[in-house]
Symmetry: C2
Subunit: 108 residues, 2 copies
């Protein structure tokens, strides 16, 4: 499956940017909510270090995942779909070929 | 100033252990309180990553600081005094020579 070097029209770029930002916003809000929740329940040192470990992992994950380069966007969207941060409807308007690839990758 | 290879009597060991644990308990409780406070105020991603940086630094600091070996205890107590986690009164009963060294180091 050829997923690099795919051209994106101006309309597709707008759709992609919006979907990307929406997914990011959702994931960040969920993270803030979870940290707030965990923070409010802290009672022991172990929980503090677990929170630290959790944040280390989430930071690494989020830093790597939200890569807005058109050469990797098909993979990024597939992962965001798979993880539930993005809905297929939000990619409506992309070329059918791209959607097919995203859906196929998300199912892997 | 010779601070290694100092002998500790059984009574001194009891005083030292109690003071060490008290300081640790205070610092840990203050940390838990601060993380809880920061957690409850989280509103933006930047604050989440600042919390992560803060926890990384505190973990490194606390892991290194609370070293209960008699060969380094004079230094540990000096630092705990300096940082306010320990009160001089709580070391009462240690040999005057040790107290003098701890106080001198704490003032450095």
């Amino acid at each position: 499956m050829q997923v690099n070097n795919i051209g994106w029209s101006e309309i597709e770029e707008k759709i992609a940017r919006k979907a990307f930002e929406k997914a990011y916003e959702r994931e960040i809000n969920a993270l803030i909510e979870e940290v707030r929740e965990r923070g409010s329940k802290l009672a022991e040192l172990d929980q503090v270090w677990h929170l630290h470990d959790f944040l280390s992992a989430r930071r690494h994950d989020i830093d790597g995942k939200y890569d807005y380069r058109y050469s990797v966007l098909i993979f990024v969207f597939a992962r965001l779909l798979q993880e539930g941060w993005l809905d297929l409807d939000e990619l409506k308007g992309l070329e059918p070929d791209k959607l097919t690839k995203i859906i196929a990758l998300a199912r892997m």
